[in-house]
Symmetry: C2
Subunit: 204 residues, 2 copies
DNA sequence: ATAAAAATCGACACTGTGTAGACTTTTCGC
DNA sequence: GCGAAAAGTCTACACAGTGTCGATTTTTAT
């Protein structure tokens, strides 16, 4: 059982197993879109990846582990992206940029993000992963609010508390909108941006 | 199979089955709290209700049907409650009252409400139930916003769109807070109220 | 070329679901 | 209070999917 997904990453020549592992994750993602988590069986994933169930269990210990790995792969991508984003000083610009980036994220990875949210409760590992991701967002929102003049602190009218609520608002709104259409996602984004701006005191 | 949960409600004498049905739902609720949906088995529920699996299937066709009935029972309660609530004219009061009621709702029924949200995706019946509940909330919020002077309409800065986002904000914030403690729930409520007030233009 | 490591397979044991038919208890009109 | 119909209950079974094991084949590196 390969412990870390990319533990073999530094190798020059790629092992056969690395290819398979990727194939498994890719198949899992496709099936998740097709039939959803519950209906998707380990046999399905194995078949899609061109191996038998028995062989799949060489790579992952369980169905949950497969999905956890998939979430980890996606979430890693999100972290990279958010690290790479330039920090703007002007709050209005920062908010617009953040929302734009979030739309792109959900357009690209909406399915896996929704799955992560759904399974956060039942798969502790995924819960951790998503919690960490949410924390990054909350921190970023908090910083912007503070820079916009909202007092720092955790009381209901202070930056940290407001940032939390805004983060959940964005998560849930995008969760639903991304299930429908890109248009809805864009519209939802504008609404969230508007509420964020108002909460920051940047518009009346 | 008893079609509607309360179809036998007008009877004077209560059938044995009515008692059992309630026992099943009560046990289900207790087990949901103890072990969660996935870990909870039909056998567990039957045992808790003092019957065998076979007998339980006389009442409900599946595990999902049991939980759906439980959600229906709870949600019916919510609807009653929201119908019974007096409508205030003054927006500030209306908002405070609504948030207070919501806190009570989540304190009393948080577990089932969280379950409903979690299963909305996988159990279409529950999805419908919850969607309808959310719609009631969105409508109520929309009315308050409009009365506070926010322009009616579905554009990002108009009442309906804002109400949607606020509804999701409240749902998600309460979902998380109700898992932790009553104190957190109360605090979360105050934060949401603050954002609602700001969005309504009632405070700066 | 070869031995160790990596990968694969098929068979098995187990758990939980839902169904079927026989059996028992309750209800209610008389 | 009697007896048939309705309501409720049970045990046994068939079936799906999960995860494990040991034997076997393929790949990799020397």
């Amino acid at each position: 059982m390969p412990g870390q997904p990319s533990a073999r990453g530094r190798r020059t020549t790629e092992r056969k197993g690395d290819v398979r592992e990727r194939a498994i994750l890719d198949t899992c993602e496709a099936l998740l879109a097709q039939k959803g988590y519950d209906a998707m069986t380990v046999g399905d994933v194995a078949q899609g990846a061109g191996i038998t169930r028995g062989a799949l269990y060489f790579y992952f210990g369980s169905k949950q582990e497969v999905v956890t790995a998939l979430v980890a792969r996606t979430v890693e991508h999100l972290w990279e992206r958010s690290r790479a984003t330039a920090q703007t000083d002007e709050p209005r610009q920062a908010i617009a940029a953040a929302m734009q980036r979030t739309v792109e994220l959900w357009n690209e990875h909406g399915l896996v993000m929704r799955t992560a949210i759904d399974l956060s409760l039942t798969v502790p590992e995924i819960g951790e992963l998503w919690k960490h991701t949410a924390d990054l967002f909350v921190e970023a929102i908090t910083r912007v609010l503070e820079r916009a003049g909202i007092q720092a602190g955790t009381r209901p009218d202070q930056a940290s508390a407001i940032a939390h609520a805004l983060c959940w608002m964005i998560e849930r709104t995008f969760y639903h909108a991304s299930q429908e259409s890109r248009e809805n996602l864009q519209k939802a984004s504008e609404t969230c941006e508007h509420i964020w701006l108002i909460s920051a005191g940047l518009i009346t």
